[in-house]
Amino acid sequence: MLLVYCPYCGVSRPETEFSCRGEAHIARPADPAQTSDEDWVNFLYMRSNTKGVYVERWRHIHGCGRFFNAVRNTVSDDFLKFYKAGEPMPDLEELAKEAGK
């Protein structure tokens, strides 16, 4: 069971209050008609599935109901950072280095 921090509510709650919604920062193609098959495949199905530091979306379903992003190490399951949806992706190498200290 993970302890997840919601940046909107400002509280840490058990994982069961949240729903994990997969890899973050995968943008929907802006112009579907002009998007190639390869780009659709990448958007719909291909995932980085990183072993290590990874960004993912969470939703506080039994709380405020809002989406936010988290940086997590998928080997140790330690969270390195939580941030609101729409904020830019943090520097993952920098975060990994800090966590390693």
Partner: protein
């Protein structure tokens, strides 16, 4: 290879069973192989075995980061069945069932395959409709599967609680009689022994750290912790770590890796005759020949490589088991663990050539790969040897995610998604 027989057993009794000898060698890697298989689990070893046996490709190495059969092969709940929905899947899993039947004789190794029946419970009207649809589809595809009323289900599995006053009463069940269990370790060991005997090198404790590609893009070999090994063809069969390995060759995969949990109880006398699974309340259970109840739980909701799962996931499964089988309420659990399973978007595996010349991949078995071990190895060996898929695995390409010809088995997978 020393064949195992009653005569051998009697002979070895005179030397107090001290001179049986090793079942396979521990060779140092050669400089070059025709085929390198990455991952010595059941599927990888079966691939090597059939490459050597059916296709005469014997200059093969199976490279394993840990120890043989120590990943998901040693971590699963050993269930064998083939009652999947679509024709493509029915062909693949039924191919495996066919091989399971003669596997102990084929390998001269007791894999303890026991066709004790797999019963999948229905708890809602929707469950009944889905189960009936599966049964009809299965019958058309030549896969054995039948419908049982709650009373018939209890007759088949007496510990089952079919009273109407539980939270999710049993409203019926789909039974596949040819389904059952097998001894998971023995499958890996049997294939390892057979492959080794035909000249396949099984190299354990040797991690693959890179895949080298030439000017033309084709594979040249693998970088490992024991140095570079040249190879004309590489088959990646690395389960939860497949996308990590494929990344070394620059191929992105439609895979996500989740921890899937299982647990076993203390061993007790035979008390449970078959395999019972329930998608809706999420539990599956059988009893091993050693006497332990083998229980499968779900996956965590996030990707992870930790080989442990959240305690609330196994707790949820135990709740369901206690309600369905009240006689087990006071059983003590001995241990639980997690395995890292690679899940595709359509919950069907990928057994395919890749955009890279000489690179093949067998992955995406998700939460239920053990049942397919012999069939998977058999058709994947064909794919590697002939450089084209076998008729059975032809639909299971990576390309299906581009063409849209998905094989949607989300409902047939034992784990509710």
């Amino acid at each position: 290879m020393k064949r195992y027989s009653f005569l051998e057993l009697a002979k070895n009794a005179f030397s107090a069973h001290q001179n049986w000898g090793r079942q396979w060698r521990s060779p140092e890697p050669k400089a070059e192989y025709d085929v390198v298989i990455v991952g010595a689990g059941g599927h990888g070893l079966a691939t090597a075995y059939y490459l050597a046996k059916e296709h005469g490709v014997r200059n093969v190495a199976v490279i394993e980061k840990g120890w043989l059969g120590g990943g998901n092969t040693g971590r699963n709940t050993t269930i064998v069945r083939s009652n999947y929905l679509w024709e493509e899947s029915a062909a693949l899993y039924n191919h495996a069932i066919g091989l399971w039947h003669g596997l102990s004789q084929e390998l001269n190794y007791n894999v303890m395959y026991s066709a004790r029946g797999v019963m999948m419970l229905a708890h809602t009207v929707h469950d009944i409709q889905v189960a009936q649809r599966h049964i009809h589809a299965n019958r058309l595809a030549g896969v054995q599967n039948e419908w049982l009323t709650p009373e018939k289900a209890k007759e088949y599995c007496p510990p089952l609680n079919i009273s109407k006053n539980i939270r999710y009463p049993v409203m019926g069940a789909a039974l596949q009689r040819v389904g059952g269990t097998a001894r998971h370790d023995a499958v890996a060991w049997g294939y390892a022994r057979g492959a080794d005997d035909m000249g396949v090198d099984i190299i354990q404790n040797c991690a693959v750290t890179g895949i080298r590609r030439g000017q033309d893009g084709a594979v040249e070999g693998v970088e490992t912790s024991k140095g570079f090994i040249k190879a004309k063809k590489i088959g990646v069969v690395a389960a939860g770590h497949t996308s990590t390995v494929m990344d070394m060759a620059g191929v992105r995969m439609p895979l996500e890796s989740f921890p899937l949990q299982a647990l076993v109880s203390e061993p007790v006398k035979p008390a449970f005759p078959c395999v019972v699974m329930s998608n809706t309340i999420h539990a599956y259970i059988s009893q091993s020949d050693k006497g332990e109840l083998v229980i499968g739980a779900g996956t965590d909701q996030f990707i992870s490589y930790s080989q442990t799962g959240g305690i609330h996931i196994s707790n949820h499964t135990i709740d369901a088991i206690c309600e369905l089988f009240p006689q087990f309420r006071r059983m003590r659990m001995l241990r639980n663990w997690g395995g890292i399973v690679d899940v595709t978007p359509d919950r069907s595996p990928i057994l395919s050539k890749t955009p890279v010349q000489g690179l093949y991949v067998n992955c995406g078995w998700g939460t239920g790969g053990f049942k397919a071990t012999p069939g998977s190895g058999h058709v994947f060996a064909h794919t590697i040897a002939k450089d084209e898929p076998h008729r059975i695995n032809a639909p299971f390409t990576i390309d299906r995610f581009r063409t849209g010809r998905l094989i949607d088995e989300a409902a047939a997978a034992a784990v509710a998604h």
